[in-house]
């Protein structure tokens, strides 16, 4: 059984069909790329998968469990985490605190524990701090752990978003243009980190990207969208040779 199984997914805003008849099947451990020109509906699909929008038709199954109809917080708890195209960090919290928020559902001490600083509270907080620090280390953010997120340089903000998403302990990680606005060197470093994380944490990744070269370099499978519908899907070599895909990207 596929980890994520999307069938006939669609959403309309008024008369506009933003996404239509999209099918997607991602196996556990895969690195899957979602590409397409601007306005093709890539981010809309992310919003559908994470409960920000409710689909008008179709089904989304994660390990055979329905995701549609659930709230974003519930979907996060069932194992899907995401980053945002336009970075959404907790700006006036420190880098460490940003990651600690993501551990919210993995610690369970009560409000009273927190007020009385019980043993349970102290043990849980220490564990969260340790785990968060570990994730920051993977992303080379340890030195900045006490810096306010807003004061991080752009590239590190992008990394912190991924670190934060990873801290929710997801099975499926959705990355929305993780390399947007980065120079080639930063992009390469980021992609290496993503590969590393994938191996280390054994998670499945669905990635939106503009840069064809980059996508074909690291993704094992691709889905190309255009005007909200599927244009092609399969392994990168074949998909990128597809004349329809070439037309959508380069024009006739």
């Amino acid at each position: 059984m596929a980890l994520l199984d999307v069938k006939d997914l669609g959403i309309s805003f008024g008369g506009l069909k933003a996404v239509e008849h999209v099918n997607l099947s991602i196996e556990k451990g895969e690195l899957f790329g979602l590409i397409g020109p601007n306005g093709a509906g890539k981010t809309t699909i992310f919003n559908l998968l994470t409960g920000v929008y409710q689909p008008t038709c179709g089904t989304i199954l994660l390990n055979g469990n329905k995701l549609e109809g659930k709230s974003p917080a519930q979907i996060c708890r069932s194992g899907v985490a995401r980053t945002f195209q336009n970075i959404r960090l907790f700006k006036k919290m420190t880098v460490l605190e940003n990651v600690m928020v993501a551990f919210h559902n993995q610690v369970t001490y009560s409000l009273l524990d927190g007020m009385l600083h019980t043993k349970r509270y102290r043990a849980a907080e220490e564990e969260v701090r340790k785990q968060a620090a570990k994730i920051l280390e993977v992303f080379h953010l340890s030195e900045e752990k006490d810096v306010l997120a807003v004061n991080l340089p752009y590239g590190k903000q992008r990394k912190l978003e991924i670190a934060r998403a990873l801290a929710t302990n997801p099975q499926l990680l959705l990355l929305d243009e993780p390399a947007a606005g980065m120079n080639p060197n930063e992009t390469k470093e980021l992609m290496d980190t993503i590969q590393l994380v994938r191996k280390q944490y054994g998670i499945t990744i669905l990635l939106i990207e503009h840069d064809m070269k980059l996508v074909s370099g690291i993704c094992e499978k691709l889905l190309v969208l255009n005007f909200g519908t599927e244009l092609a899907s399969g392994i990168p070599e074949e998909v990128l040779k597809n004349p329809e895909v070439v037309t959508a990207y380069l024009g006739e």
Binding site: P72, F84, V128
Partner: protein, 320 residues
Amino acid sequence: MIEKIREKMTGRNRKLMMIGVMIVGYIACVFLAEGNLLNRQMKSLIVPLGINIILAVSLNITTGFLGELSLGHAGFMAIGAYTGAIFTKYVTWLSPFPAFLIAILLGGVMAAIFGVLIGMPVLRLKGDYLAIVTLAFGEIIRSVINAMDVTGGAKGLSKIPTYTTYTWVYLVIIVTIVVARRLLHSRQGRAIVSIRENTIAAEAMGVQVTRYKILAFAIAAFFAGMAGVLYAHNFSILKPDTFDYNKSIDILVFVVLGGMGSIKGSVIAATVLTILPEVLRSADDLRKLLYALALIVIMVYKSGNGKEMISRLLKKKEAV
């Protein structure tokens, strides 16, 4: 290893320092209240000042931590005040100490319950809409109290036992500040602050936004309710008009002036703005005007524009 020990030490030292500050603060209170330093008029300010600190710190949980503007805080204070006063007035068989302790807790709990009840529909709104609706609820609470028999209606409640002492107020202040501080360092508090910082991202990280908004609202209401009980047992009379929206705005001014999210700021602002009108009493007719003027000056200066404005003014003069 050495670093670890040092870290632990500073942690413990900070705790000791905090306890020290608490004790010194209390001793200062005793001196001010019992000594000859202050005249009677100033002494009578000590309790209201403390109550204002509690109100400011508690509203800061909604406005500063959660980041939602609430204009109905006086409503929760009213619920606590009337609950506590009715309790001590009718439960006369209890001796003062347990009666007052129960009254304070009861007032807080009742206010918190209303915080949850009002929060459930209201907190689905955001920003300006939320502010307006909290304002409306604050007024509704006052009107309902005005219309009820048990509260004495518009005439108010009188002959409430005057149990409130500066010691009680001081204790409640300590509890309020400790809870507010510890909240910030708990997972619940982090969830609340993350909602302020970015609601969509908070939700995507698994934070149940509505639940934590209501939690913040309820905790703030709880302490406002306790402040209300202290207020009721200070003057021995209660009138619904005390808790109109002007009171809510006054509390909000403490919070904004002290800095959103800053507990220390709330304490200082509440202190300064409670004493200021009394100091200005000698100015008589000009009092309100001077108070407003002082507010504007402090606000402009605090926002960081003050220095800029002054330097710009000076520059203009030079240019001429």
